[in-house]
């Protein structure tokens, strides 16, 4: 048994760690356990979806082989432990790109499917699962299921966004998208309040593939921010920026993100970026994955770890709900530095438990201050519940079961596809097993 943490570093419970390194042996390894297990890739989800305290973790990062790639159609087949980073670096020079990626490329294909991750272009291309053509699922009773949007679509809908609970994903086929090169035409536009944010979001959706914003929820009255948008662009060959990799060298004794630091942080960030606002040609790596060059940045929250609170609320009451959440955060005195506000497109996701729904999503990070932080979350939950929104399971470590049940209407349908030999911290907390 070894202690394993997820990205939020909130717990370090012992796990029995088993590497799934050889596809031909996956079945034997997942079948034989008396102990329940769950697949674990890069451990980039924040809460307990990738953990299984006292149980088994099947680590998939050894399943990192490509199987086939067709340069003429953009179809990629690979094992589930391949990192999105390795796909991007492989295919972009050949004129293709992953249609959807989240804010870090240091995640596995299997994790991206199991959490049905989304990116800055949700309004155009949906979430990761929308581009998966086929996947292989190994169940703990030995059954191997091939599914996709046109083959056993019920299994596919259960597995995309299915949190790894329907079986172990070992392989996937993904339809990539044509791209001219690694560059984006980007623009940063400061906004003064939520009215301006929504105006910008509405104005940008038709003409910009990628939209996202950083919101300053502490200074400037709460609600100002920086709207970033981008489109792929063909600018020919340019030297690739050599992003310097820095590593957070240690876990500081207290969170570096705290009441003292947040105000100057946010103020400085807003003004620096406002000063640099405008059009630019940007490489995809810093634009899509701004934190990937600061390795182990999650350590900056200190030994107690941190929470991410990401919710989505329907558009009609989105502005009021976001305003109300920002107000609660301001009242609490705790703030968030990595606060992201983005509108989702008007489309339904593939997966039964997929997170995206039409509306606006707000992601916030909070250092773990125990009771005080949980109290704030309860007030935020009340707003999300009232607005008929939901919380992102890939980031959650604490939502009450009742809120989960109320906000994921396809839960009962999903449960029929669960693998009885698979269990995670999250599944026990929110589904009872």
């Amino acid at each position: 048994m070894k202690p394993v943490t997820s990205w939020g570093r909130l717990s370090a419970n012992p796990h029995h760690v088993v590497g799934l390194n050889d596809p031909s042996r996956v079945k034997a390894l997942v079948c034989h356990g008396a102990n329940s297990g769950v697949a674990h890739g890069m451990g980039r989800s924040y809460g307990d979806v990738c953990l299984n305290p006292e149980g088994t973790l099947w680590v998939t990062t050894g399943l990192d082989h490509f199987i086939a790639f067709d340069d003429s159609t953009g179809r990629l087949v690979c094992e589930a432990g391949v990192l999105l980073r390795d796909i991007q670096r492989q295919v972009i020079p050949r004129g293709w790109i992953l249609p959807v990626t989240p804010g870090t490329q240091l995640v596995t294909v299997g994790g991206a499917i199991a959490n049905d991750v989304h990116g800055k272009n949700h309004h155009v291309l949906g979430s990761f699962g929308d581009h998966v053509q086929n996947l292989t699922l190994v169940r703990t009773d030995g059954e191997i299921i091939q599914c996709g949007p046109h083959e056993r679509p019920d299994w596919f809908a259960a597995t995309v966004g299915g949190l790894g609970l329907t079986g172990v994903i070992t392989q996937a086929e993904i339809q990539l998208r044509r791209v001219a090169g690694p560059w984006l035409d980007t623009e940063t536009v400061p906004y003064a309040n939520l009215d301006e944010f929504f105006q910008l979001a509405d104005d940008s959706e038709a003409d910009w593939e990628h939209t996202v914003s950083w919101i300053d929820c502490i200074t400037g009255g709460g609600g100002r921010g920086l709207f970033m948008r981008g489109n792929p662009v063909n600018v020919g060959d340019r030297p690739t920026p050599q992003g310097r990799k820095l590593t957070m060298p240690m876990v500081p004794p207290v969170s570096l993100v705290n009441r003292l630091s947040l105000r100057p942080f946010n103020m400085a960030y807003y003004h620096l970026k406002k000063w640099q606002a405008g059009r630019a040609i940007t490489h995809y790596e810093p634009f899509f994955y701004p934190l990937d060059n600061l390795l182990e940045w999650n350590r900056m929250y200190g030994p107690k770890g941190f929470f991410q609170y990401q919710s989505v609320v329907p558009r009609e009451i989105g502005q009021d709900a976001v305003q109300a959440m920002l107000k609660e955060i301001a009242l609490s005195g705790d703030g968030s530095f990595l606060a992201v506000l983005k509108t989702f497109g008007n489309r339904q996701p593939v997966g039964m438990l997929s997170f995206p729904q039409p509306g606006v999503t707000l992601a916030l990070d909070f250092p773990n201050h125990g009771e005080r932080t949980h109290k704030l979350f309860e007030r935020l939950d009340a707003i999300v519940r009232e607005a008929k929104g939901r919380i992102y399971l890939a980031k959650d470590a604490r939502m009450p079961r009742e809120l989960f049940e109320a906000s994921y209407p396809r839960l009962a349908e999903f449960k029929k596809y669960r693998d009885p030999g698979i269990s995670s911290g999250l599944s026990r907390r929110l589904m009872g097993s």
């Binding site: 070894k2 394993v4 088993v18 390194n21 031909s24 082989h65 490509f66 199987i67 492989q90």
Partner: protein
């Protein structure tokens, strides 16, 4: 004939070797021969490399690791199809020390696969490279070969054999067109060590280790410690007096 670099990897399913292959092919397409025992597992590596580098030529050779006759024949066949620029001898397996102590069969297997077999391959290639006076023989040893420790001295002894052998081979080829590179990785984060993670073991990322290896091989360095800090650590460990060393639980 083409002008691609001809690279041969013995034990191509080892994670370090595989990452070296990925980096070599990412630099430029090559003519790569992958040698291993288990055809299915080498094919998986070859398929992956083919996707990564469609312009490379990739061949798969199923081979025996312990039989001298078979090794001779395998190496002979490989060399027959073209002059080899680099051979990376990377096979081996990390045994449980306790098993080697309890079972002489396991002990012998560990010594053979990690020590005798790499030497036989290197010797076979040395003979072939001597004639054209061209090529690099890179052997993967280990920091474990620098001083015997109670926690893994059987594996360490086998790797120590590789170290002494490489020294002698370097001496033999001094001033010639054949280069001999000895690589000594520290504990590396590979699928084989996934169970050590979180045990407090500090494991080096395999991509970084592979990068240092291909750079060191390119430069023809006689000895590569990777990550580099292991040079210093092992220097200290090698020189600790026995009365200090024997008190340590390592």
């Amino acid at each position: 004939m083409n002008n691609k670099k001809r690279i041969v990897i013995i034990g191509a399913t080892s994670a370090i070797a595989e990452h070296c292959a990925r980096l070599w092919l990412a630099k430029q397409p090559a003519d790569l021969t992958l040698v291993g025992r288990d055809t299915q597992r080498i094919e998986r590596v070859a398929t992956d490399l083919k996707v990564r580098s469609p312009q490379s030529e990739i061949r798969v050779v199923q081979a025996e690791f312990l039989d001298p006759e078979a090794i001779n024949a395998t190496v002979g066949d490989i060399v027959k199809s073209g002059r080899v620029d680099i051979v990376l001898i990377a096979h081996g397996s990390l045994p449980e020390q306790i098993e080697c102590q309890n079972d002489l069969q396991s002990c012998r297997d560990a010594l053979e696969i990690n020590g005798v077999s790499p030497v036989l391959y290197a010797e076979a290639f040395a003979k072939e490279m001597e004639k054209p006076n061209h090529g690099t023989i890179a052997l993967i040893g280990s920091v474990a070969g620098d001083r015997g420790r109670k926690s893994n001295y059987v594996y360490g002894a086998a790797k120590g054999l590789v170290t002494r052998y490489a020294q002698g081979l370097q001496h033999r080829f001094v001033g010639s067109g054949v280069k001999v590179v000895l690589i000594k990785p520290g504990p590396t984060d590979t699928p084989m060590t996934v169970h050590l993670k979180g045990k407090g073991a500090k494991l080096a990322p395999v991509e970084g280790v592979a990068k240092q290896i291909i750079e060191g091989v390119e430069a023809g360095k006689p000895v590569i410690y990777t990550p580099g800090k292991w040079w210093l650590i092992m220097m200290v460990i090698r020189h600790l007096p026995a009365f200090v060393f024997n008190k340590m639980n390592i």
